[in-house]
Symmetry: C2
Subunit: 333 residues, 2 copies
DNA sequence: ATCAATAATGTACGCGCGTTCATTTTCTCA
DNA sequence: TGAGAAAATGAACGCGCGTACATTATTGAT
């Protein structure tokens, strides 16, 4: 095919290649001849062969954590992130290869590189567990180009793109106190994610000294169901006066908690203050609307992609957060 | 690399290849030798080279419609679909290549095949507009392996995986009538999608003869905002008695409508009945919870993937739907 | 044990491109 | 106009694998 284009244009195959690679110096006249011949014959370079020849797949892998069945994409967090990744990839001519970490046959991400399926990798939902950490350290030692998101792992700080979770929850807690709530409690995400802890720390930062060690912490797992399940415990805190507000580690737990407390006769604003984290769609859909920390996961994803594509190095600062005040946190007097 | 494995195992390169291809007959003894040698040397076949050699990329393309910035993945519809696609792809050893139709440089999907970037393609959010139809017809004529979802295009019925939108809205409307609502109106999605019309037809199917041509239709565009914007119009229908219930073409419009009507003093169940379509997360999060048609987009996606991967042919029936009755449609007496 | 039939393995080549190096053309400045 | 330098092009090769075909080892029936 390329040969015929070459013949038709009266040049050699190498020249055709050069024209389509755009890199080399080709005389404008020749270039036009080749392009014309190619257009007439409907020739398009075989991308697969190019990738093979230049030993680069041009793919940016996106590793999703294994989540059973339908709920794979069901969180605001992920699709927001994917949007940013997608934009960056598009902008730099990379294709996105969607990968899923399987539960059993965890062959490791290194394989994907060695197979040359991907040139760079973004890990979503990485955890700081021993085997995963070890694998990533190895990947790093091999000089692979990857990044992960909202997770700290010792020795891999230069690979982690993070939003400022700590400050986010600080803002939320501070806001509740300003609203006149006296004893906020924290609804924590699952262990294994550093951001669960960071968010708690931010919450503590905002506590006045007399509450620093005194506030209650409820343990959830970032799902709405877990928030719902904590309603009984939360109601007890409200009843006994040990808490009159909640900073939830994410929106979904906040929403579950709100629904659960409603069933028990507690209404936000009237009986307690509530904030979430993520500024998800749900926060706007709720009744009352949910005050939430907005973290631009879109930007986080974009940044991670730029790093994995090696067009940018790790920024020094964590990505900024903001507080979106809606109804659930306000204190009705 | 392969050569060294061959030497170490005392066989030829071809045999190594055969072992890793798993297809050919290789003596068990030899197989073990090769595998052992490969393990010792850390050899893994270069996937890129294999793809090149066998002229198959092994990738299933998923074409997303271009949606500005962050909202790319923000609909329940898409991520549910992606979950199903992902499962099917995984099961058949295909990788998912995420593609996005760009607004300007619409070079056509055919290119992706000719470039050998993909072996099969799923189009999400295809529309029945002239240029798109033409392009897909060409793709079909070229014998490419693709499928699209929830859209009918003349001459491409064998490529379309559909859920039974019509029956879904029939069930919703029927349910509202059974609840005692007298004059349901329909909130329609944008033109250009056949499912917008199908859903309206299903709604009509359920109408008693005296209402068949008489019911009101509000025109939205599947966004929550459009539902919100229709609240004034809807309130007028309620006020004048031209409608006392709404079947919305999807959940987001239903949610917007509910919020808008609330601002105008109308409450569902008390003042009107409401149903959505998609059974999205939002339907559960609402207050009141939203009665909605559940359509298993997960299954739709899975089916589309199986067809695009040519492991299954088009089913004769549309995929089934169900009605999930929650609070918004109930008539409080 | 012999020979044919079959299974197992080896040899050789090409997939479509990028790229190095040699060669030719064009340009520059005397 | 004629070198020499620089730009443009061509010829040849190899990337790592799969595979058709040739070759050798194994089996089974006589």
């Amino acid at each position: 095919m390329r040969k015929q284009v070459a013949e038709r244009a009266g040049v050699s195959e190498a020249t055709v290649s050069r024209v389509f690679s755009e890199s080399d110096a080709v005389k404008e006249k020749t270039r036009e001849k080749v392009l014309k011949a190619a257009a007439e014959l409907g020739y398009v370079p075989n991308e697969l062969a190019r990738q093979f020849a230049r030993k680069r797949s041009g793919n940016l892998g996106v590793m999703l954590p294994f989540v059973p069945k339908a709920k794979l994409f069901s969180t605001y967090y992920f699709y927001e992130m994917m949007g940013g990744i997608s934009e960056a990839a598009q902008q730099h001519g990379a294709d996105l290869l969607l990968l899923q970490r399987m539960p059993g046959e965890d062959r490791g991400c290194g394989l994907l590189f060695r197979q040359q399926k991907i040139d760079g990798l973004i890990l979503l939902g990485a955890r700081d567990i021993a085997e995963e950490r070890e694998e990533l350290l190895k990947l790093d030692a091999e000089g692979r180009s990857f990044a992960f998101v909202n997770q700290r792992i010792d020795g891999l700080e230069h690979r982690a793109v993070e939003t400022d979770h700590r400050r986010g929850c600080f803002l939320a807690a501070e806001h509740l106190l300003q609203q006149g709530w006296r004893r906020p409690a924290f609804v924590k995400g699952p262990p294994g994610f550093s951001n669960s802890l960071d968010r708690l720390l931010g919450f503590r930062d905002a506590m006045p000294d007399e509450l620093k060690g005194e506030h209650a912490v409820l343990q959830g797992n970032y799902s709405r169901t877990s928030g719902l399940a904590l309603a009984g415990e939360a109601a007890e805190l409200l009843r006994s006066g040990q808490a009159d507000a909640f900073v939830a580690g994410n929106d979904r737990m906040a929403i579950g908690l709100l629904q659960g407390l409603r069933q028990l006769g507690y209404e936000s604003s009237r009986d307690y203050g509530l904030t979430g984290f993520d500024d998800s769609d749900g926060a706007r859909l709720m009744e009352p609307t949910l005050t939430s920390v907005s973290a631009s996961f879109y930007e986080t994803g974009r940044m991670a992609a730029l790093i994995a594509l090696q067009v940018q190095s790790m920024p020094v600062d964590k990505l900024p957060v903001g507080l979106v005040v809606r109804e659930s946190s306000l204190k009705r007097t």
